[in-house]
Amino acid sequence: MEQNTQTQTLPEQTGEQALLELNDLHTSFFTKAGVVRAVDGVSITIPAGKTVGLVGESGCGKSMTAMSIMGLVSRPGKITGGSILFHGEDLLALSPKARRQMCGDKLSIIFQEPMTSLNPVITVGAQVREAILTHRRDVSKAQAREQVLDLFRQVGIPDPERRYASYPHQLSGGLRQRVMIAMAMACSPDLLIADEPTTALDVTIEAQILHLMRKLQQEHGTSILMITHNLGVVAEICDYVYVMYAGKVVEFAEVHELFRNPSHPYTRGLIRSLPKLQAAQERLYNIKGMVPDLLHLPEGCRFAPRCEQACPRCHQEIPPLYDIGGGHLVRCFLFQPEEEAMAESENAASHSEEGGTP
């Protein structure tokens, strides 16, 4: 069942060149309490020049997917299977040195809290310059400095000459995130992974940063993998969206299609449980229960214990991703094509007949 889901292609994307392809990626943590399968058979395609969203709640494996791509999974975590094709080359097969050269140059990441990802005792200018000098041997320090100032201008840091010599703590959260973006864009990467880049920011600053990311993408043609829990951010900036739940992708669609026609009961529940800005509401819908403990995952569909439409089968088998039209994929038995369901039930019936006459 799991096998055939991995080979599905995404119709709208076949015309576009895939920059990054995750195939059946597995990342697990080997803890004393047991094996935590944080990323459990995730397949994701990022077309060149597009923004792809990865949404889900805490613990769904979205950040670990990013860390796996960047080669930042540390013990007791380990990538246990699958492949990560970047420009058609498997990153997992590269030597550590070759991988390191690629990260920061062709692949970049920005994190949620810029304060913890910047070095507090080095000026922000020198930190961004270091990113350039590490990957561009032919650039002199003076040239690199010029490039940094230019980057600061591009990301909208006011008074770049003065800010070059500032330490991270002297900048506001919004400016620090701009520095992080400048650093990530320093080598004009092909892919920028943004892990909750605006979650720690105020809403007016969030709007500015999203605007900046869109602008940089248009200018440089960078692909973006946007990891977020915020459906508003997804709707604002993404072209395609993957919804994750407990280590698995449960739904994939083009962004307009996803919000117009959310299909997995989890996605539908998430969208319905959002308080609305533009209308007063009597009562909020809520998904009952809570996210399962990754150490004690339920049998079958992982959302089944919280799902209002779960049937007995959902508690036994993990559904595959069904294409419900135009490349919109849903991991739910509600969307099983009729012929397939018929064939299966006939099969089951003949099986039970055989079993019934020993």
Binding site: E57, S58, S172, G173, G174, L175, D202, V203, T204, I205, E206, A207, Q208, L210, H211, R214, H229, N230, L231, G232, V233, V234, A235, E236, I237, C238, V255, H256, F259, G269, L270, I271, S273, L274, P275, K276, L277, Q278, A280, Q281, R283, L284, Y285, N286, I287, K288, M290, V291
Partner: protein, 321 residues
Amino acid sequence: MEDREILLQAKGLVKDFHVPGGVVSSVAGVDLDIYRGETLALVGESGCGKSTLGRLLMHLIEPTAGKVIFDGIDLDSISPAEMRALRQRMQIIFQDPFSSLDPRMTVGQIIEEPLKIHKLCPDKKAREEQVRALMKRIGIRPEYYNRYPHQFSGGQRQRIGIARALALQPELVVCDEPVSALDVSIQAQILNLLQDLQQEFHLTYLFISHDLSVVRYIADRVCVMFLGRICEIGDAEEVYSRPLHPYTKFLMDSVPLPDPDQRKEDKDLLTGEVPSPIAPPSGCRFHTRCPYAKEICTQEPPPQFRDMGGGHCCACHFPLR
């Protein structure tokens, strides 16, 4: 309007913090009424003073100037013992359900503690019964009485924090960002729970949040703060459908909506950053970011609280209506 009873009143509240490099007026002159039974939301960006104001109203910190009147009692004029007794009637729920619960106490002990402190239920058995009943109401299985906070998820811990606040049957509950640390699906559960409890126990909420969508859902009235001052206050419906202060409008326009057909794309964004509270701008504190600012805005502070009808007030030289 007149038939509403004022439960809590702030008059000219100021709170200064002395920091290296100057004085931060975190709350710079706030007048505010909270009516019994309502949910008043305080919204604003980080550093606008909303949490400080919440703590001032609870008398958890002393104001530099101004006073707080709770149900007719001036909190400044009463003795510490009287204040302690009054605390029964006002409780607080914190943002972070991880740091606000003592990790070495069991859930039962945590919820029971306020009852013990206020000697409300001297009989041990009866007290335990009361705690179990409360746990059940709040959605934590009473069998978990002897478990520790780390054995619960964020949403459940927030429920424990709520139970602790409600143990004393308070009249006013200050909810300081109670759902911002929670996942969306859990957030909805907690918001609904807070609403049910308000009905059941006739609570008055001061709901502090930076999330404008959450506020719209839960609040009867909304108070928007910017850099230590209130810039707009009014019925939620009014404020959301007809914002008067430019800041309120920009705040609302900045929220990314879960609808790709309503993208902001390159619609005018609020430029610049929140000015430093150590050296706030002269005149209207918002003028450095305000696209409508005129000469007068840079010099004179706006008239406080011009009522534009139905108690919808705003502090702006040029309201948007």
